[in-house]
Symmetry: C2
Subunit: 289 residues, 2 copies
Amino acid sequence: MVVEASGRGQAMTGVGRRSENRTAGDGPIGAAAGTAADRAYDALRSAIVEGELAPGAPLTEVEQAARLGVSRTPVREAFARLVAAGLATERGPRTLVVSDIDADDVAALFDLRRALDEQAARLAAARVLAERTAAPGLAPTTISAAATAADEAPTAAAFRAIAERFATVTPAVLQGDDPQRHGYYALVAEFDAALDAALSTSPYLAAAIASTRVHLARVRRLARDDDARLADSAAEHGAIARAISDGDGERAAAATRLHLHEALTSIHRHLPRPGAARRAADRRPEETS
Amino acid sequence: MVVEASGRGQAMTGVGRRSENRTAGDGPIGAAAGTAADRAYDALRSAIVEGELAPGAPLTEVEQAARLGVSRTPVREAFARLVAAGLATERGPRTLVVSDIDADDVAALFDLRRALDEQAARLAAARVLAERTAAPGLAPTTISAAATAADEAPTAAAFRAIAERFATVTPAVLQGDDPQRHGYYALVAEFDAALDAALSTSPYLAAAIASTRVHLARVRRLARDDDARLADSAAEHGAIARAISDGDGERAAAATRLHLHEALTSIHRHLPRPGAARRAADRRPEETS
DNA sequence: CATGCTCTCAATGTATACATTGAAACCGTC
DNA sequence: GACGGTTTCAATGTATACATTGAGAGCATG
């Protein structure tokens, strides 16, 4: 069954197994983690995303085991997770390499993002509506149910607050080199977290979305956005958040679609190959030079 | 970052690593496979899908190693894949159990399916259009380019043929107990394969879709469809295939949405808990008898 | 000099031995 | 008799040793 999926562009997984159970205060850097397999996976993932391990670089168990100071067994498990996450690809029967990522991959990744993020926006807005009808006249004075109230309708409030903070991101603010950008990306991360929270009843969708974020981090590194694009992106995010907080699913989906279109366009503008090179090479026109 | 995804309903992955490289003729049954890890994974996945390993059953390395006749190492890798596929869940720090699947899970799974399958239908239809414009007056007499021609516009033809075969599936045909049902499911599998082929340029989406099919197989076992539903489902599949072969993306997406809605409704009708039990339990209305 | 074969080797695949850890049973004490 | 501590044990986590296999270098031969 199931035609093999072309070659690259592996899987859509994530939901870190036992990762990021950082105890918030291990060492100077966040180097230590739970098990050795977790450390190995985190280190390798980070290295791939940061570009230290270039696309196409071979991943051998012995070498990485030596580099990370663990035995082959945890490295083996880490490799398996990398393959599941799509960050590594099996080339040949016994060769594992860092997955390549080019313009075609980005386009393919966005084919998936469109589907996932639009649905997520719709569902988040629907949740806002559901919360609204569930607790119509909830006064903040209900003392004994205060915690319950905070749990009851957080979605709208969270997205409203995030939308307002996105509104403060202007090109002028982004002038300061890295710290502000980090702040912006942190804000995006908060948005993602709010979305995850809103998708608590759709864990499959949430997991699929989470799995795309690793690849997006790689893409982000590949095509550094300029300040203007970042400001636009912030505005687009704000529009999405506002639509969700209003419970307007269609507007949220449309804003998401717009944002993804702009993001993809911007990325392709900054990337080497514009795309669609393979089909042109496959065909065999008789007049090719 | 990234809020942990609720608990159950893990990941969306798949793209079998090196599985199903069956050499088409190993033994009497298709029991033998490539590596021991592949065999272990296939065996465990099959056991879980078939219900031999019930939801909640603990998965211990030693026990499964003994049962499958391999050592712990391949079993370990198989477990990792099961977790990545969402068929197993880590309960506690050192306990792996077969993932549970109930009505809520099915609803959550369909939240993902809606997103993925609609996008897939749209993209497949778009591919049909692209092929049509790429080779407008392609005559079947171009001998030297015959193979190329067969590769050039297969999408429309494939879906057209599948649609016609779906049209032959009637309630009367489905009377014969299992063989006919198998035939129907084989037809669905062909549809899936055609879809995968059409999604060759969107491998991320294709992989995500593939990862949902395992769970759908479990659901199928849970809620056996009656003949009437199967016939309806065949008609719905046929409508989707026809829309794709016509290159009508919106119609294909709408037909997909309809099919998924009907399928989910039918499943919930056959499943123990209708769903949405958690929220009702969380809330504390004062007048709940 | 080109070509095919063999042979070595390095890497994975597998098995097993050792370390670690969490839980449950058991026992002693209050 | 209940409770707390201790101890045992079974399971995973890790390391390493052995088996297997594919690729490449090297060599012999046409």
